[in-house]
């Protein structure tokens, strides 16, 4: 597609519920990133994939957060047993090349997760 597509756009989850957020990167983009953006804050790094390999997951807040990209294209961010502090916009970004992001990333519009 023309851009990075994320679904759903909005998700309301009850505390304790599991959620799955999907990211369709731009076709052919090697690198894929997940960022978390709390209200009034800048995005914060969660994890990085190069093709299907998860090279960095140092930003995942807890072991309740899990990301995968099994075929090197679509990625899913899963959050188990959601808590109120997980409420945020989850942004996915992709990049054509590997590390060396001279042209920046292309971000999707994000999934706004609200945990009630």
């Amino acid at each position: 597609g023309a851009g990075v597509s994320q679904s759903p756009r909005y998700k309301v989850a009850k505390r304790g519920q599991d959620v799955a957020l999907r990211c369709d990167p731009i076709s052919g983009h090697v690198s894929l990133f997940w960022y978390q953006q709390a209200l009034g804050q800048g995005p914060e790094f969660l994890t990085y994939f190069q093709n299907e390999a998860q090279l960095d997951k140092s930003g995942l807040p807890s072991d309740r957060f899990f990301a995968e990209r099994p075929e090197g294209s679509v990625s899913t961010l899963k959050i188990q047993r959601t808590q109120q502090e997980d409420s945020a916009v989850y942004l996915c970004a992709s990049s054509l090349v590997g590390p060396g992001i001279e042209y920046g990333y292309t971000f999707g519009s994000g999934t706004r997760l609200t945990v009630v």
């Binding site: 800048g42 995005p43 930003g59 590390p99 992001i101 920046g104 292309t106 994000g110």
Partner: protein, 111 residues
């Protein structure tokens, strides 16, 4: 730890009133400073990358400059459509890919 501080938090301008946004950073070995624009309900949109002190880049009414401690985003004769949150980010010295963002400056341009 790398830090990025943006000021002001919010800026309101009249159409045509030029101004600057500031991004100060603390990073061990800068490997790129990035400016993004973010509209409500959208993801950040890439504007510029700067790599070394003295470098400048321009795009329409925007010009980004870089020193060893800070970057400025100059907006010349802004229009209402320039209203957005402007985010600054640095690529961490030890990483090829991880960006550390500031909180952003919310710019409102009134007609």
């Amino acid at each position: 730890e790398d830090q990025v501080t943006q000021s002001p938090e919010a800026l309101r301008l009249q159409e045509g009133e030029s101004s600057s946004l500031n991004c100060s950073y603390t990073v061990s070995g800068l490997r790129g400073l990035f400016w993004y624009r973010q509209d409500p309900g959208k993801g950040p949109e890439f504007l510029f990358t700067l790599y070394s002190a003295g470098e400048e880049k321009e795009k329409e009414r925007l010009k980004a400059t870089l020193t060893k401690k800070e970057s400025f985003l100059h907006i010349t004769a802004p229009k209402p459509e320039d209203s957005a949150t402007y985010l600054c980010a640095v690529r961490e010295g030890g990483s090829n890919y991880k960006l550390t963002f500031g909180k952003g400056t919310l710019l409102t341009v009134n007609p």
